[in-house]
């Protein structure tokens, strides 16, 4: 017995036994892919121990093993608990108490709505070197939670995005307790006022990045913020109380601004932006999407001052004349340009822009419906490095223009052709783009299996494919995809109603598939769902809305095989209470369920199913009629566990 242990204890035959644990650990450190690291852990006990001793990042999916995991991995620096189902204060505190977490620097608790100030107290106490905490979307979090985090004096990064309960009081505690803050997000914390921002500006002098998007703060906040000398990044999306006067204050301030986002600020004009640029000649990123109505010359002249530094410019929703695009082209170092929904963008305008900006990598021309293949020719000729091209609703383009792009731009990674009316002929040239990762063809109903065959032949790196309403696609097209695009993670086949269980059978060989949308595929049944659930072991989201032939058999398959599932939509499916109950009690990672109009599920069925998964559910969408018939205890329990319910009033209508 002991002989065997000695022989295999060193990790196998040959020289492996000669490697010390530390050396082995360093070798394993260089293994990057999570799947490969998992494989290494399974080799032998020595490999497992070495990997555990060197592991720096951990992502926990369920709360039951949390305590054991925290004790097993002693070198942890980054801890991600955002997907940890059923995590609450008691379990978090208990798991932290036995562990040595002196090295933990970054903790992510995004959407961990079951965690409150008690859990955060325990976290701060257990991790003395805590530098970054992400508490975003913990909608119930408030001042008490902020106070708990204020005890982490070394905190440098904090996200309180969507922590709706945080007010000036909580913010005050944080800024006093964590004076070394460098990055702070208060996005959506609408209780915060100018007073809170003022205190923040007085206390946190090291602040580099600040997000006050959606807050009701006004120009006085910008006056305070303008004193933060190290501030490089400022986001003020949809701050409707801010106007040109505020931007002028910023323009005169002592910040080191590199990136400013004023998208959707309806009281900001190009005049205000001009005065902002005046004071900050080193701006690199400027996002003014959906905020400006017209373009003054003062802004364009000041834009010329940024010609060396500006890399990102977004002007979505603006009326642009060709002269404006010519002026923007003066910023020769532009890497990203956003002109989505801009009226008046013509081929000439684009040409005058791209001939000056050959470094462009991201070009957003969504809804620029005047553009033709000539614009694509200009882009192909001048911007050889282009990686992301958004052409949604540019209905005048065709395969000729795409041929030019595909030939001249070998780095193309993402292209959006939604609603462009392209056909299979357009996909032939795109097959040349072997680096293609994202392809969107929504609403292109002429795309057929033939087009998919082109893509499958050489776009082997494809990760995301959107075939929304490409209703000529059949099972054969999916067979080709499964053969040629093995790395697909996200696939949208909504309304491709020719697809049957056979097609889903092909999808079962896509091992990397994580998100699958199958809305209104009326021919698929539990058989097809089984194939997908068995084969696609990494499936985390599946949308089966209006798959009228999917019944309990489909839910049984998901319950049995789709163990990683986190998000599910089964609205309008033919399921009963039994299937629903089994599903919700089996899938331990399932957190988000949309189940509107499950006409065959009784009230008892809903009660039992929801009670079975109560501690795990975070988001539910149900018919509002159920609000009055489900027991109040159940609804209270759901809320207490951090679950939010969206009640909707939709008429029962069958579509095809």
């Amino acid at each position: 017995m002991s002989e065997e242990v000695q022989r295999y204890g060193g990790g196998g035959g040959g020289g492996m036994a000669a490697l010390s644990l530390d050396l082995l650990g360093q070798v394993l450190d260089r293994v990057r892919e999570p799947r490969d690291r998992k494989a290494c852990r399974l080799v032998s006990r020595a490999f497992a121990r070495a990997e555990a001793a060197h592991r720096r990042a951990l992502r926990v999916l369920r709360r039951e093993p949390l305590a054991r995991l925290l004790r097993a991995f002693r070198a942890l620096e980054r801890l991600d608990l955002s997907a940890c189902a059923s995590l609450d204060d008691a379990s978090l505190a208990a798991a932290l108490s036995g562990a040595d977490l002196a090295g933990v620097r970054r903790v992510c608790l995004a959407r961990a709505s079951g965690v409150g100030w008690r859990g955060l107290d325990a976290l701060v106490a257990a991790c003395p070197r805590l530098e970054a905490v992400d508490l975003s979307h913990c909608v119930g979090a408030g001042d008490r939670e902020a106070a708990a985090l204020a005890a982490a004096t070394g905190l440098r990064e904090l996200s309180l995005e969507k922590c709706l309960g945080v007010t000036d009081m909580g913010l005050a505690k944080v800024v006093v307790g964590c004076p070394r803050l460098e990055k702070l997000s208060l996005k959506w914390c609408r209780e915060i006022s100018d007073i809170g921002i003022d205190l923040l500006s007085k206390k946190c002098h090291d602040l580099r990045s600040l997000d006050i998007s959606y807050l009701k703060v006004g120009n006085e906040s910008l006056r305070s913020i303008s004193s933060l000398e190290k501030l490089e990044e400022l986001a003020m999306v949809c701050c409707s109380c801010i106007d040109d006067d505020g931007l002028e204050l910023l323009g005169k301030g002592s910040n080191s601004l590199q990136s400013v986002d004023v998208s959707r600020c309806d009281h900001v004009t190009s005049q205000g932006l001009a005065s902002l640029i005046d004071g900050h000649n080193f701006l690199q990123k400027l996002n003014a999407a959906d905020s400006l109505h017209e373009m003054r010359q003062s802004f364009l002249s000041n834009l010329a001052k940024l010609k060396d530094t500006l890399t990102v410019l977004r002007l979505d929703g603006l009326e642009v004349a060709s002269s404006v695009l010519l002026a923007i082209g003066g910023c020769n170092n532009l890497v990203e340009i956003g002109l989505s929904k801009c009226n008046g963008v013509t081929d000439e305008g684009i040409s005058s822009l791209v001939t000056q900006c050959s470094h462009l990598r991201v070009i957003d021309l969504t809804c620029c419906n005047l553009l033709t293949n000539n614009a694509l020719d200009s882009i192909a000729e001048n911007c050889k490095m282009v990686e992301r091209l958004r052409l949604e609703s540019c209905s005048s383009i065709s395969e000729k223009g795409l041929e030019q792009i595909a030939t001249s731009c070998p780095n193309l990674k993402e292209i959006d052709l939604t609603d462009c009316g392209v056909n299979d002929a357009a996909l032939r040239p795109l097959a040349k783009c072997s680096e293609l990762l994202v392809l969107k063809l929504g609403l292109c109903s002429s795309i057929s299996d033939k087009g998919l065959a082109f893509i499958s032949s050489s776009c082997g790196k494809l990760i995301e494919l959107d075939l929304y309403r490409c209703n000529s696609i059949t099972d054969d097209g999916l067979a080709a995809l499964a053969n040629g695009c093995k790395k697909i993670k996200m696939l949208n086949l909504c309304y491709c109603n020719k697809i049957t269980d056979t097609g889903l059978g092909h999808l079962g060989s896509l091992e990397e598939l994580t998100n699958l949308e199958l809305r209104c595929l009326v021919r698929i049944t539990g058989i097809g769902i089984s194939s997908v659930a068995i084969g696609c072991k990494n499936l985390i989201e599946i949308d089966l809305k209006r798959c009228y032939s999917v019944d309990d058999a489909g839910l049984w398959a998901l319950a049995r095989y789709a163990l990683n599932l986190r998000q599910l939509t089964i609205s309008y499916c033919q399921v009963t209470g039994l299937g629903l109950c089994h599903l919700l009690s089996s899938l331990r990672c399932l957190q988000d369920v949309k189940m509107v109009h499950l006409s065959w599920v009784s009230i008892e069925g809903f009660e039992m199913a929801l009670r079975a998964a109560c501690g795990r559910l975070k988001k539910l969408k149900m018919l509002s009629g159920l609000k009055s018939v489900l027991s109040p205890e159940l609804l209270q329990m759901l809320q207490a566990c951090g679950c939010r319910i969206r009640w909707v009033n939709k008429p029962l209508v069958y579509k095809d």
């Binding site: 609408r190 949809c238 929904k341 809804c367 949604e392 609403l443 998100n515 969206r646």
Partner: protein
């Protein structure tokens, strides 16, 4: 991407020109319509719009009586309202509103 944005009230769309609230995301019936200039959505309700004169129009799906809708603040043309449909399969559109994707912006989400 994986999770929807958390809500602070219903998700509202605004007029692209003046940010007047004109429709709600929950009222979307279909995202697969064609407007004058590109993609459009069918909504069950609209608010703060002025409905223009009725006229007969030959659309891709057949003959309809429609009335253009304008933002009641700035009079920007946003789409149209279906007043009558003449084929049985198209009747479900009656009383509903088309908003062009390029004319509406997300307001608070």
């Amino acid at each position: 991407m994986v999770f929807m944005a958390e809500l602070v009230g219903p998700r509202v769309y605004s007029c692209c020109n003046c940010r007047n609230h004109v429709c709600l995301h929950d009222d979307i019936i279909s995202k697969a319509f064609q407007g004058r200039n590109g993609r459009a959505f069918l909504f069950s309700h609209a608010m703060n719009v002025v409905v223009g004169a009725k006229e007969d129009r030959q659309l891709m799906t057949g003959l309809h009586t429609v009335a253009d809708i304008y933002c009641n603040d700035c009079r920007e043309l946003l789409g149209w309202k279906y007043e009558r449909a003449y084929e049985e399969t198209q009747k479900y559109k009656e009383g509903k509103f088309i908003f062009e994707k390029s004319k509406i912006v997300k307001e608070n989400w």
